[in-house]
Amino acid sequence: MNLEFSAEEKAFQQEVREWLRANKPDFPPSLTHSREQTLAWEQTLASKGWLATGWPKQYGGTGWTATQRYIWDTECALANVPGVNPFGVSMCGPVIMAFGNDEQKAEHLPHIVNATRLWCQGYSEPGSGSDLASLKTRAERDGDDYIVNGQKIWTTSAHIADWIFCLVRTDASGRKQEGISFLLIDMKTPGIEVREIRSIDGAHHLNEVFFKDVRVPAKNLVGEEGKGWTIAKFLLGHERTTIAGVPLCQAQIEELKVLRDADPNLRNDPKVDEDIAALEVDLLALEYTNLRALERAESGKPPGPESSGLKIKGTELQQALAEYKVEMGAYASLPWQAEAIGEAAYAQATAAYNIGRASTIYGGTNEIQKNVLAKFALGL
């Protein structure tokens, strides 16, 4: 057993740390970056070749080991830089690599790896939340095109995206998991309308996307027609090693400690020390569970049982951290969409707590995760 970084890994860590210090963007991370901010930061990463950290070198990725990616994620959290829009790099890209044809690879992967196109994800629909397979958006073949009609919802970043990857129904006759296809759609295509959904934190992250007779070239079908569910499952199992959000939680714990130490009401209260220690203990367990998953990924093994709880425990911890920050802030947490009173860090505490409630909902509610675990981990 060994968890020490090798000399090479330590050198890499140092390089990353210095580069981030020199290239950190001049705006702070938030949940609502503009298109310009997103492109600026991602293109900075791309020009260094560090945007697609999970990709092999042949497609312009970093070709990093799981440990290098862990180091990268941790350093990014410590440096407090914005995250990367996941829909292109972490989702659509890997799908095209695994299921796309050469033409699709040539067309799309460079734009993703260079951050010249922003993506969004067209999965959920008004009637199909956790029950994704019941989706209704239709794509009917018409010559060389599909005609797409229907509606997507909860589409993060649709208002700043260039392209959307969609699950659509190409056949309604069989089991509901069958007849689903995976389609890439240019957001500028006529017939697409994006409507803002304002979130509980008062901000604009989410959208509804309406498709009315949207004509999509059939060459934008990824994989076989009717095999979209396979791709959806591939994506759900993907990114197991980052789903827990450990680096972000570590940065948040450190922030709580800094806030505590700056406020005499908090730093002289042993209960606050104990509460933070309790959160830290939960995080340590999560971190080591995550490291176990990472080690398996590194050595090419399939995900073990330890990885299944990562999303559940990770999102619960993120929510607990957000909730605790609100309570530490006391009155300073109460202003809403307003300037800070007292410590600046509390200005967004309540908004983050609010929108953070979504983390146990999206990507399969935690209840769905537990249904799945009951079946696959316990055989119930």
């Binding site: 956790s130 029950d131 909860w154 979130s199 509980i200 209960k271 109460l334 209840e367 537990k370």
Partner: protein, 386 residues
């Protein structure tokens, strides 16, 4: 033993519920919270016409002479109806401070306008350095001849941007956290040396950061510590009743939604895990109702410590219970629960704000423990302890 309300109390509650239903649809509410003043001047004026603002003031003060039970029943409807009118700021915080502390002359100058809705007054009590300690006060008041001068900073002055005047809690003597040496002072919003930074508040309404740089002020009555504590306790009880109304609404809406929303071919309410979750919400709402009834009964106790314990216990319980109900209501609604477009998220914000106002669970548990220990000390039960 009797937990029932009088017919008059029930009528009062029902009539206010109907008033809000008419005046305050969810779409009205959404427009109101986007305005700068954060409330509806029309509704506020109508409420004044109907004498709702006069409800808890005594006949002698020109009010309707109702007690805390009626006030809390009103608060429950405010919470249920997502009402953001500045009732707590004007009627409870400022109004009750005046009623308990001011001279007859001051009352007659201030209360009529407050009661008919034409005058708004905010109580400036909180300071960030004191966290939730009711009587922690750095803002100073110094006397020069007949007049007083205030200096300091007050935070989270509820409804301040709409106020014509402020009541400021300031220290005349003693250390920052001492219980005595405090006064309440009246100032005009336009007085020289007053500066106000307006904020919106989580859950609706507005507030302000109030800076006082040698502001001339008029004192209300005498030693103010106990009155401030009592008024904050009443406001805490009021906010608990408001939260109870909001919790009931969340439970009802969630149970309803779970019967219609289908996933995997079944209504959500058919899944056992979600059934039990809603049962847990239901039980928390029932227990909260019991706590509200407990406060209603004990707020008329002649023992001040018993009143304080009742309020502390109620808030301590309901902070936790309200978080649970709010969080689970969002979780069970799924994506739609985290949008501005559905009322669920707005109740969630209202209940989050409830938690932090006037002291959170931890603060109230500590108060409760301290009050209990003082009582045990008095009963001689701590004789051997050191």
């Amino acid at each position: 033993m009797d937990f029932s309300f009088t017919e008059e109390q029930t009528l009062l509650k029902d009539s206010f519920q109907r008033f809000l239903q008419d005046a305050y649809g969810f779409e009205d509410y959404r427009k109101i919270i986007e305005t700068e003043q954060g409330y509806s001047a029309d509704t506020w004026a109508q409420m004044g016409d109907l004498q709702w603002q006069g409800l808890p003031f005594s006949d002698a003060d020109g009010g309707l002479g109702y007690g805390h039970i009626e006030l809390l029943l009103l608060a429950e409807e405010m919470g249920r109806g997502l009402c953001v009118e500045p009732y707590m700021a004007n009627v409870v915080l400022a109004g009750q401070t005046i009623a308990k502390l001011a001279s007859a002359e001051q009352k007659s100058a201030l209360l009529p306008g407050l009661m008919d809705g034409s005058r708004q007054i905010s109580l400036a009590h909180a300071e960030l350095g004191g966290r939730y300690q009711a009587l922690w006060c750095e803002t100073s008041a110094s006397e020069q001849g007949d007049s007083w001068t205030l200096k300091g900073h007050k935070s989270m002055v509820l409804n301040a941007p709409n106020a014509d005047q402020f009541l400021v809690v300031a220290r005349i003597s003693g250390a920052t956290d001492e219980a005595t040496g405090l006064g309440v002072f009246l100032i005009d919003k336009d007085a020289s040396g007053v500066s106000l930074k307006a904020n919106k508040v989580l859950g609706g309404g507005v507030a302000g950061e109030l800076s006082l740089n040698n502001v001339a002020a008029q004192r209300l009555g005498g030693e103010a510590g106990e009155v401030i504590e009592d008024v904050l306790d009443l406001a805490t009880a009021y906010s608990c009743a408001d939260a109870y109304g909001a919790m009931q609404a969340l439970l009802a809406k969630t149970a309803e939604y779970s019967k219609t929303r289908k996933q995997f071919g079944m209504p959500l309410g058919a899944f056992q895990v979600l059934q039990h979750r809603m049962v847990d919400m239901f039980i928390e709402v029932q227990q909260s109702q019991s706590m509200i009834l407990m406060v209603m009964l004990r707020l008329s106790d002649s023992d001040r410590a018993a009143r304080q314990k009742a309020v502390a216990a109620c808030k301590a319980y309901m902070h936790k219970a309200s978080k649970y109900v709010a969080q689970q209501a969002v979780q069970l609604h799924g994506g739609i629960g985290v949008t501005e477009e559905l009322d669920i998220g707005h109740y969630f914000r209202r209940l989050t704000a409830f938690g932090s106002l006037f002291g959170d669970r931890t603060h109230q548990l500590r108060r409760l423990a301290a009050l209990d220990k003082a009582q045990r000390q008095a009963q001689g039960k701590l004789a051997n302890a050191a």
